[in-house]
């Protein structure tokens, strides 16, 4: 059993809050089962700033901005905000691209995977299997000596630029200049009231920075430590609260068919989430955690976030993203290229013990 200290309860509270707000944001207007989905939000934001032209997927999601600024507030209050970076910037940038590709082929980030699962969507079970397998392979890679290098405190304000970018997003969200696109139909036209979304994002960003809670880290710690891992209890709290909230809001629909934003291509769901799990372990966190770390001044995570934005544009422009109709040929190839990318980096970035 874990130590039931203050940090443990903070993690449990963070997990429960993420689960609850993930369901409530959908209840308040976000797309079904997508109350919180970092990859979908990134795709929407990329579309809004003109990185793709799918007119049904364009909206600057206030939750993302909230995550960053909540994390900044917490990091500044705790004296943890430091510009740091310098660890394999380009592989991290490309990892961000492939994280979104993996998520887009599955239709959702790891948070959405659990939101879909707790809403009764049985198509996610194979995605969960993929995520666990990917995290397991990632752990094995780390133990074999794969790592992208040390992240060091840096001179200058490199950690300020991604928060500055999101400040710009906040400004254009409110000012709505003509070059920003907002969908009038489609899933991006569905959103909770702006201030609700922003407040929820700020609250969750603050909590996630303090607790270090994220889905893939919870899975990783569970595989490493079993029930002694506090993050695993956070994930359990997330799941229990989300199930109850889904039932209370009438969003629970147990079944394999007719689920919102899902498809039945099990192999590709498995591989997509496997890629996300594997990459997340190597770069130190899933898409949500990368955004929180970018809010702490981590320029390496900032590179991942920039890669995610570019990936958000590419998956829509290049027809990589899966739909309820299934996974496109380009989506399948992109996941395989992603797996190739991690395999090659595992070779290039492996430190072998000297003989």
């Amino acid at each position: 059993m874990p130590a039931f200290d203050r940090h443990f309860w903070l993690i449990v509270f963070s997990g429960a809050s993420l689960g609850l707000l993930g369901v409530l944001l959908a209840f308040w207007g976000n797309p079904d089962n997508s109350g919180i989905c970092v990859s979908c939000f990134v795709e929407n934001t990329a579309g809004a700033i003109g990185l793709h032209d799918n007119t049904r997927m364009q909206y600057i999601r206030p939750e993302l901005i909230g995550f960053i600024f909540g994390a900044i507030a917490s990091a500044v209050l705790l004296g943890e905000f430091r510009s740091k970076g310098g660890s394999a910037p380009l592989p991290r940038f490309l990892s961000g691209v492939f994280l979104i590709i993996g998520c887009a082929v599955f239709i959702g980030c790891p948070i959405k995977l659990f939101l879909r699962l707790t809403a009764g969507d049985l198509t996610t079970i194979v995605g969960l299997g993929g995520l666990v397998a990917g995290v397991w392979v990632g752990i094995k890679s780390l133990s074999a000596g794969v790592h992208l290098g040390r992240n060091e405190t840096q001179r200058g304000g490199s950690g300020l630029w991604v928060p500055a970018l999101f400040l710009f997003f906040l400004l254009i969200l409110f000012l709505r200049p003509g070059f920003v696109q907002f969908s009038e139909t489609g899933s991006a036209a569905l959103h909770a009231p702006l201030l609700f979304s922003l407040a929820a994002g700020l609250f969750l960003g603050f909590l996630a920075q303090r607790s270090r809670f994220c889905i893939t880290a919870s899975v990783r710690d569970f595989l490493l430590m079993g029930g002694r891992a506090p993050l695993a209890w956070g994930l359990l709290a997330f799941s229990v609260v989300a199930i109850v909230a889904n039932m209370a809001t009438g969003s629970f629909r147990l079944g394999y068919y007719g689920q919102p934003g899902s498809h039945h291509e099990a192999v590709w769901s498995f591989l997509g989430m496997g890629l996300v799990g594997w990459l997340s372990v190597i770069i130190g966190g899933c898409p949500f955690r990368q955004i929180i770390k970018a809010g702490e001044g981590d320029a390496d995570a900032g590179m991942v976030v920039l890669g995610m934005l570019v990936g958000g544009g590419l998956v829509q422009s290049w027809d990589i993203a899966a739909t309820a109709a299934g996974v496109s040929l380009y989506g399948k190839v992109a996941v395989l290229v992603g797996i190739l990318f991690v395999l090659l980096n595992s070779v290039f970035y492996r430190e072998k013990a000297s003989a």
Binding site: P31, D32, N33, S34, C37, C40, T55, R56, M57, I107, G108, K112, G178, F179, V180, Q181, F182, E184, T185, G186, S187, A189, L190, R253, Y257, G258, Q259, P260, G261, S262, H263, H264, A321, T323, A324, A325
Partner: protein, 179 residues
């Protein structure tokens, strides 16, 4: 920070640049041809295009809608054929053909036409769109799904399986979620 002349000059320059940006955006400085350019604002262009597209489709296909309302199905199918020569791959032809085929009892092909139309253009299941046919598609799924499942219990044919797959696709799109 900002302890020597170099830093102070840079700080002053930063403030100056911010003030100029604010004045420019606030319209206090002559913005050259901006008023002309803003007439071609991309968001206005896009909204116009989308609405014009929907209006064009509804107007162009109106005769087919009328024939369907009058139950002149054969005539409507012929008219759709002529439209398809002019506008190949247009989802509106598919959705109308689906509607005619369902009315004529050709359920499997009708469902396939509806699914193909929604794959091409999600506006048909979107309540906010002027092309919205959500109620019609919901009714189709609710009526056909039990029948198709029932028929699959007795005889399994590739066409019935295909219809079931198409119905599940439509059901999933009706359920919402991210696209």
């Amino acid at each position: 920070m900002f302890s020597d002349l170099f830093d102070r000059i840079h700080l002053l320059a930063v403030v100056l640049v911010l003030v100029v940006i604010a004045l420019l955006l606030g319209g206090f400085i002559d913005r050259g041809d901006e008023p002309l350019r803003s007439k071609r604002d991309p968001s206005v262009e896009r909204a116009m295009q989308e609405r014009a597209r929907a209006a064009f489709l509804l107007e162009t296909y109106q005769p087919v809608d009328q024939m369907i309302a009058d139950k002149r199905y054969a005539e409507a199918l012929l008219k759709l054929q002529s439209f398809e020569k002019s506008y190949p791959g247009e989802a509106h032809s598919m959705i109308l053909r689906g509607s005619i085929l369902i009315a004529q009892g050709v359920v499997g092909e009708g469902i396939a036409q509806y699914a193909a139309a929604v794959k091409v253009n999600g506006d048909y299941v979107d309540e906010k769109s002027s092309l919205n046919r959500r109620n019609e598609i919901t009714l189709l799924v609710e009526n056909s799904l039990p029948k198709i499942k029932e028929s699959l219990r007795s005889v399994v044919t590739p066409s019935t399986e295909k219809s079931l797959k198409n119905l599940y696709y439509l059901q999933s799109r009706l359920a919402g979620g991210c696209e």
